[in-house]
Amino acid sequence: MVVAAVPLFPLYWLVISSLKSPQEMGAIPPTWWPTDLTFSAYGRVFEVVPFAQSFLNSALIAGVCSTSVLVTSILAGYVFAKYRFRGRDTIFWLVIGTMFLPPIVTLVPLYKLITSMGLSDSYLGVMLPWLANAFGIFLMRQFIQDIPDELIDAARVDGASEFRILLSIIVPLLKTPIITLLVFAVVYYWNNFLWPLSILQSPDKYPIVLTLSRLLSYSTSVQYQSVVMAGAIIASLPTIVLFLLAQRVFVQGIARSGVK
């Protein structure tokens, strides 16, 4: 109970700050409950920066990349789990190795690569490196390994094509990892800051996190901070809602990925 208070307190402060009037924001010492509640900050957010457009940008990027990661991870996971071929394990461990690579290490070469393709400052440029993910492949392979081979062999004997096996047998058994990966991917791509910062220049293409930082730097006056807080809440809503909806499954999935 005390433990829950620690993460809750800053979040509480965020919410009440977004509801305070600009005058009240300047109060010293700060008030712990808004004396005059107002939603005006939320309106201001949309006036200062192209917030709505940004929201849609984030939705586009996160949506496309998450779907792509889901597809590529299931395909690759299936191959690594159920097929046998030379070098399979070596390649798998190489892929896993990339998980421990901090994005900062690949930032410069990736930037050069994407700009040399002429994709600087474009949606495609942002999304291209994100269409597949090593963690996703790892997660899917772990779960697919648990599927009994007999099930698959029986289907093959019945004459089902590989694709059919994938869709009708494997995928329905992957509910937990699919939800886990989906939430993980959406959260990761929605929140990611460094890569879009590096590759995009036009503010109207900015995802919500970049626009939020623009919102932050627009003014340092304390009266303005309620607007920034409101923006932060709006930007965080999708990931929080998604997480709350999927939390039981998602938490289980993450936990299972950590227990080797």
Binding site: P7, P10, P30, V105, S213, A232, T239, I240
Partner: protein
């Protein structure tokens, strides 16, 4: 930085030389090492303690607390930056006003070169704690009850049980959490970029921020790449050591 791939010149190890002799780059390395070290030292024991507190007494609100703790992980770092920049604010923020109530002088948080890095570490612990607690609780559920029964029959106290039964059996989860903390804190970028820009007086200059700034603001792709590759080698070293340590005991 903007030179096309075909026009770049080969300079041998010059970039590495300037990386290791440039004083700010070494500062970045030291700051990052301190950041990672303290993050691990604070986060892991705290996560373990909270996980055990959540798991052992059969209280009802456990699931809710876990969800609340974990939710800080899904919020965009930018939003968390916004929250904490307000919390840390000397006149308008609640943290300092609480301290004044108790008559404690404010450490100045982000504007004090000696406190800035710690402020960022607190930020990081707050954000990541829930994720590690969830992992450790999952690890705890893997330990069979019979082991605790046997220990209790042998007369072990709760504390002895925790130290001699729980922690050794939690080894693989703990190693995983430590690894994740290291990997995650080495990468720290967003709060530095948004809150301190490496200051004050380079006290929060960390590797990832240094690399990004060298590459994009100073335009020195070669030097930034040398730093990035050195970081890679360092991580391989740390990862390899941890992997060897965990394999020896399994």
């Amino acid at each position: 930085m903007l030179t096309p791939l075909g026009d770049m010149k080969w300079t041998g190890v010059d970039n590495y030389v300037s990386v290791f002799t440039g004083s700010t780059h070494l500062t970045a390395f030291i700051n990052t090492a301190v950041y990672v070290g303290l993050s691990v030292l604070i986060t892991v024991p705290m996560a373990l303690l909270i996980a055990m507190l959540l798991y052992f007494p059969r209280l009802r609100g456990r699931g809710v607390v876990q969800v609340i703790l974990f939710s800080t992980y899904v919020i965009p770092t930018v939003a968390i930056v916004i929250i904490w920049s307000q919390l840390y604010s000397p006149q308008y923020g609640p943290v300092d006003s609480i301290l004044h109530l108790f008559g404690i002088a404010s450490p100045g948080w982000l504007s004090n070169p000696n406190a800035a890095l710690i402020s960022l570490i607190i930020f990081n612990v707050w954000q990541m704690l829930g994720y590690y607690v969830v992992l450790l609780v999952a690890g705890l559920t893997q330990i069979p009850q019979e082991v605790y029964e046997a220990a209790r029959l042998d007369g072990a106290s709760a504390f002895q049980q925790a130290v001699s039964v729980t922690i050794p059996l939690l080894r693989s989860s703990l190693v995983f959490v430590i690894l994740m903390t290291v990997v995650n804190s080495i990468q720290v970028f967003d709060p530095v970029y948004l809150l301190t820009q490496g200051g004050p007086v380079n006290s929060t200059l960390v590797l990832s921020f240094d690399i990004q700034r060298t590459a994009f603001q100073n335009g020195l792709a070669g030097e930034a790449s040398a730093m990035a590759f050195s970081l890679l080698l360092f991580i391989a070293l740390v990862g390899g050591t941890l992997a060897a340590a965990s394999r020896r005991h399994t």
